[in-house]
């Protein structure tokens, strides 16, 4: 028996990067990934790749920061699939800049996608999870939300916000058997980090106790554990996947 057999798993920002990795690993565990992303072409490509590996997946376009759009998408997903067992708030962006040079728009955009997007999906999906009296919500935060980082005050605020949001919602929904946890990845190899200069990557690696970057798989495996019944007594937690960077 696979660990997530037939579970309907909505994963935001999952056409690429960590989100796609989660979708792929979830499918391998028997889950039905629902890919949410902002571009239809990216979704189509992701679903095509998953199909190629023999998995079934579905996709819906949504701008996670748009409250009404998210509401409509969730309604449609319920119509098509009848339930949502797992929600993974993974969609996130960065707009790095030192505080003094940060534009208002850089601040707003990051908070809108990372925090408001998480609120939008969590609120809409929790309605159905309440009725089901079961559900798992996992928010993909970041170690930056715990330790801060020069040049990422907006991103740090958003990720710290997600962690605090998760804890509050974990308390609100606990009586209905809905678990809410955060994952704080450290330095993970993705398309997003592939563009970084070699020197920067080297510096990062030096600061990590395990002396290497993490892989998407490392994050996905924790997601599977938290989403499965193996983690049935774990809620309100933030778990780092960071090679020991934050202790």
């Amino acid at each position: 028996m696979k660990r997530l057999e037939k579970k309907i798993a909505v994963i935001t920002g999952s056409a690429r990067g960590i989100g796609y990795g989660i979708a792929e690993h979830f499918a391998a565990e028997g889950a039905v990934p629902i890919i949410i992303d902002i571009q239809q072409e990216l979704i189509d490509a992701a679903i095509e790749d998953l199909k190629h590996d023999g998995y079934t997946a579905y996709g819906y376009v949504a701008d996670v920061s748009d409250f009404d759009q998210v509401g409509n998408v969730i309604k449609q997903i319920i119509k098509d699939h009848e339930r949502i067992d797992i929600l993974i708030n993974n969609a996130g962006i960065t707009r790095d800049s030192l505080l003094l040079r940060m534009k208002e728009d850089d601040w707003d955009k990051v908070l809108q996608v990372n925090v408001k997007g998480t609120f939008n999906f969590t609120q809409k999906v929790s309605r159905y999870m309440l009725k089901q009296k079961s559900g798992v919500i996992i928010n993909i935060a970041s170690v930056i939300g715990l330790m801060g980082n020069a040049g990422q005050s907006n991103y740090a605020a958003s990720k710290g916000g997600m962690i605090a949001f998760s804890k509050s919602i974990a308390k609100e929904l606990s009586s209905r058997n809905i678990r809410v946890n955060s994952i704080a990845p450290g330095f993970i190899e993705t398309e997003m980090t592939a563009t970084l200069p070699e020197q920067v990557v080297k510096q990062y690696q030096e600061s990590i106790p395990l002396k290497r970057m993490g892989s998407v798989k490392d994050v996905a495996k924790l997601c599977i554990f938290l989403a499965s019944d193996e983690a049935s007594y774990i809620t309100g937690q933030t778990i780092n996947v960071d090679g020991g960077l934050v202790m």
């Binding site: 309440l130 609100e172 929904l173 009586s175 209905r176």
Partner: protein, 80 residues
């Protein structure tokens, strides 16, 4: 329309209680075993059921409704 009947149906569904328990005097929390989440869900269900009357129950108003009768009275006042 029979407001009490509609409200009763919603309560039976949302709180999983028997129809007989839902009297005008019944208290949501003490008699019908509702918790704060049930109350939010019930108020949302009521708003939806009476959508055509544009009823929007504020948190303050909801907090004051402790019995089934309170809710029925509130809706009747709104739709008249």
């Amino acid at each position: 329309m029979d407001v009490f009947k509609t409200v009763k149906e919603l309560i039976v569904e949302e709180l999983s209680v028997d129809e007989g328990q839902v009297t005008m005097e019944a208290k949501f929390i003490d008699d019908l075993g509702a918790d704060s989440l049930n109350m939010v869900e019930l108020m949302m269900a009521i708003e939806k059921a009476f959508e055509s009357f544009n009823i929007e129950i504020s948190d303050e108003e909801a907090a004051e409704m402790t019995t089934v009768g309170d809710v029925v009275k509130y809706i009747k006042e709104k739709i008249e």
